[in-house]
Amino acid sequence: MSFKNIRREDASRAVIVHGILLTYTLVALYPIFLVVINAFKTRKAIFRDPMGFPNAETFSLEGFTKVLAKSNFEVFFYNSFTVTVITIAIVLLLAAMAAWALSEYKFPGNTVLALYLAIGIMVPIRLGSVSILNLIVDLGLINTLTALVLVYVAQGLPLAIFILTEFMHQIPKDLKEAARCDGVGEFKIFFAVILPLIRPAVATVAVFTMIPIWNDLWFPLILAPGDGKQTITLGVQQFIGQYVTDWNAVLASLSLAIIPILILYLIFSRQLIRGLTSGAVK
């Protein structure tokens, strides 16, 4: 085979490969794109030319004004944001502490405890909802964001501990031994030496903890469905249920839920993929 042929073959293969990838990318993105562009159009334009871009004639923000006037979107955002950030902070700290103890110290039951803490990776916490509701009622926490944080911390811990334990095994022994020889206490070794070292794994854990929480409908629906306590997912669900025939408002509320996640994703996608490909998750 001559070089010319090889090159031609390469070129035609590249066309096929990029053709497949572009087609699937379009399938993945177009539905989202369609909703977002139509949120910026007049009601007439949404129906007359759904696939067109908004232009000077069809541009309208009436959907957004309606959503902001008729629902508490700022409150939904605030609730989701508070719950997610507090949960991530607690999960990271507690999981790092537990992962450190499991990976560093030899104690009876070490393996059993590691397995016990891993059960939650496979068994969905939702299946315990009947008792969780009873527990939250008994604690007087119904309709509070605290209830959501407690449940989400329990939900996030197993995978976080698993990922961080794997990661901590890779920390060089010399570092810890050097600190110990200097007579540094065990608490200080963790907080001053180890915690700063796990930064690369933190992004991965944070993303894996954040996405299911931010997007969850089940627990907000069960534990905190009341006015003023809805998260963004529940808020949008209730709002759309109410204004189902108002296309401007529906499209605008969906866009308001989509856009922040897209921005966050674009910022963190590199770290997410790096965490995955570096073997933090197996």
């Binding site: 993105l29 539905p31 560093e104 110290y105 803490l117 299946l127 009947v130 296309w247 995955l276």
Partner: protein, 312 residues
């Protein structure tokens, strides 16, 4: 991965070890393990109207599995859930594997951009995804028909989400569209981890990229494929949000889209005139737990054990 186990004897640091482990273990036990165990306990109790909860043995299970009204609903949701799972296994995972294979081709340009964009739907809330597709497939808007028109298939368009025969399949495809990112990401990561020398020999022998993928790479990432399958199983038998957002708790039309998650919700909280019943809800949850446990044990003992024998 072969790493040495924990090295430091804890007797030199009892207090720190307990302090490190206690908070996570306590919260996890109280809000995850205790509710799971307590839900199973509750499934053996019933509350007669106005009375105290009393132990009734397997009565609740008999009701859910054998009472004519209940059993029909339960098995309907079970088989619907199996179909939902089958669509994911047959469509989502093969697409994810194929895309991961293409993305891991050597010297591919724009690799990262493709990957970032293809995974995007996976990041969105299931509720939002449900509404997006409900709008696009709505005959009122008609954009779905317009899109099919582009590829010349307009005549196929119909109110798929509203018809008893097609609603469940349509919802399964919507879910596949969202979750393709999971097999894509995990299998792509596994493909990247394959050492080059394993592939180089075959390339030198003149194997095509497809042959290398099919005969060398795919068998090597089989453990990841098995893991993706069990994650799909657990995720599908625990699904709820999509059906609830698009079809409501009644999972219409005529329960055609009812799956275990929606059945659990209705049993627990009630709907329309039927009151919720926590004990029957706990029973449905325990049955879901058994189904998921069966899947996980099958994975651990049958798949995982056989795989590890062939691992490098």
């Amino acid at each position: 991965m072969a790493h040495s186990g924990p090295m430091t004897d804890w007797r030199k640091a009892r207090l720190p070890v307990i302090a490190f482990l206690a908070p996570a273990t306590i919260i996890y036990t109280l809000f995850m393990i205790y509710p799971l165990v307590d839900s199973i306990r509750l499934s053996f109790y019933a509350t007669p109207s106005g009375g105290e909860a009393a132990f009734v043995g397997l009565d609740n299970y008999r009701t859910v599995l054998a009472d004519p009204d209940w059993a029909a609903t339960f098995w309907n949701s079970f088989w619907n859930n199996m179909k939902f799972f089958a669509v994911h296994m047959l469509i989502q995972n093969p697409i994810g594997i194929a895309l991961a294979g293409i993305l891991s081709l050597p010297r591919l340009r724009f690799r990262n951009s493709y990957r970032t964009m293809m995974i995007m739907p996976t990041m969105l809330s299931v509720v939002i995804v449900g509404f997006i597709w409900q709008l696009i497939l709505s005959p009122v808007w008609g954009v779905g028909a317009d899109l099919l028109d582009i590829i010349g298939l307009k005549s196929l368009f119909g109110p798929w989400l509203g018809k008893e025969g097609s609603a469940l399949i349509t919802l399964s495809f919507i879910s596949v569209w969202q979750w393709v990112g999971i097999p894509l990401m995990l299998i792509y990561a596994a493909l990247l981890a394959i050492p080059d020398d394993l592939v180089d020999a075959a390339v030198v022998d003149g194997a095509t990229h497809f042959e290398v993928f099919w005969h060398i790479k795919l068998p090597l990432v089989f453990p990841t494929v098995a893991m993706v399958s069990i994650l799909t199983f657990v995720g599908n038998f625990n699904a709820f949000d999509l059906i609830y957002a698009v079809k409501g708790a009644l999972a219409g039309p005529n329960f055609a889209t009812d799956i275990m998650g929606t059945l659990f919700y209705r049993t627990f909280f009630g709907y329309q005139l039927q009151l919720g019943n926590p004990h029957l809800g706990a029973t449905v949850a325990s049955l879901m737990f058994l189904i998921i446990l069966a899947g996980v044990l099958f994975y651990l003992f049958a798949v995982q054990r056989r795989l590890s024998r062939y691992q490098l």
